[in-house]
Amino acid sequence: MSPRFEPIVGRYLNMTLLGKPHRLYIEEAGQGIPLLCLHTAGSDGRQYRGLLNDPRVTENFRVIVFDMPWHGKSSPPAGWRDEEYRLTSRDYVGMILEISDALELDKPVVMGCSIGGRIVLYLAHQHAKRFRAIIGLEAAAHVAPYYDVNWLHRPDVDSGEVSAGVVSGLISPTAPEDARWETLWHYMQGGPGVFKGDLYFYKVDGDIRDKVDQIDGRTTPLYLLTGEYDYSCTTEGTLDIARRTGAEATIMKGLGHFPMSEDPAGFIAYLLPVLAKIRGAV
């Protein structure tokens, strides 16, 4: 293989976030409409590398992916050892808006998966006017706990192995093997307690069921794409949000809970028509 650089630029942004100094890792590629991407719980921005490398996306969109604090190459804030990391809807919304402002993004499109698919529902509810369009991948209004998340962070169980173990079945059985295991590798690399801390938002704090009916999925267009193999954010949950908000929902065949990462080509085939609508090309 001859050496080649990918068109992705990765940089560290120092900024005050949620009242504390932070050092955030941000990758981007492309030009045009800003498309701010949010990774899943316990993983990081590498999940979007298929998108960042696809010229069909980057010719019209500036794809921007940040690692949330505590995730990937973004550090936890100073003094992290003295707190238990727990993501809340308030902090998550604040983080996205503050980063978007710091990058001076003009009416970006925001797209999030899983916890990111949940938080974009909060953005659609509270801050829709700030966005050109909102895309929720694997979005459900609520997911009840179905296993004890304490297993994800205890010294007598390898947190990387168990985190990958609990999410492995959420990947479609038809996903390419290399992409499946890279998706799991991201989970294996998460810091101790980080996946569990994200799930506090996903399963406890971030219940938006009572506000779904107040979301207008048409004025700022809301698109929902969910893989048929996702048993965490179910297709029924997504279709229910679409019915109640006027959002446009697509059930993606042969995909699971990590579409952009487990099968980038399969996912991008579903995403391109959505992006074309957003830029008014169809």
């Binding site: 007598d156 192995e161 609990v166």
Partner: protein, 121 residues
């Protein structure tokens, strides 16, 4: 199909390596039929069918025959592709000492899914 698990697992050197610290006996129930699966250093030593008088095991996975047979298809449909999918869908019960189960989850999922390798559909 469950009786094929020892040969299929033990022939997979990487799976055995990944399970090299697993030493346990667990129960799988397929409808009314129980099987005790004994694992030593990642190798499946035995799959013993019931009935049992006083079975001793660390944890148990219980589901209907139909659920297991759908789980073991070459490409299982949504809701049947993973033991957690069965579990969340209310089709599988998991009981007992969860520590060996959770600590070795990736390995055990691959052990249990091994019969798919030989499925015709």
């Amino acid at each position: 199909m469950i009786e094929r698990i020892p040969e299929l697992v033990n022939a997979d050197a990487n799976l055995v390596r990944r399970g090299r610290f697993v030493n346990t006996t667990f129960m799988v129930e397929i409808g009314d039929a129980g099987y005790l699966i004994r694992i030593a250093e990642g190798r499946v030593v035995s799959v013993t069918p019931g009935p049992f008088i006083t079975p001793s095991y660390s944890f148990a996975l219980r589901a209907s025959r139909e659920a297991w047979e759908t789980f073991w298809r070459k490409v299982p449909p949504p809701g049947f592709n993973d033991i957690f999918a069965l579990f969340k869908g209310g089709l599988l019960r998991i009981e007992g000492d969860m520590h060996p189960f959770m600590a070795n989850l990736l390995y055990l999922k691959d052990v249990l899914a091994k019969p798919r390798q030989e499925a015709s559909r």
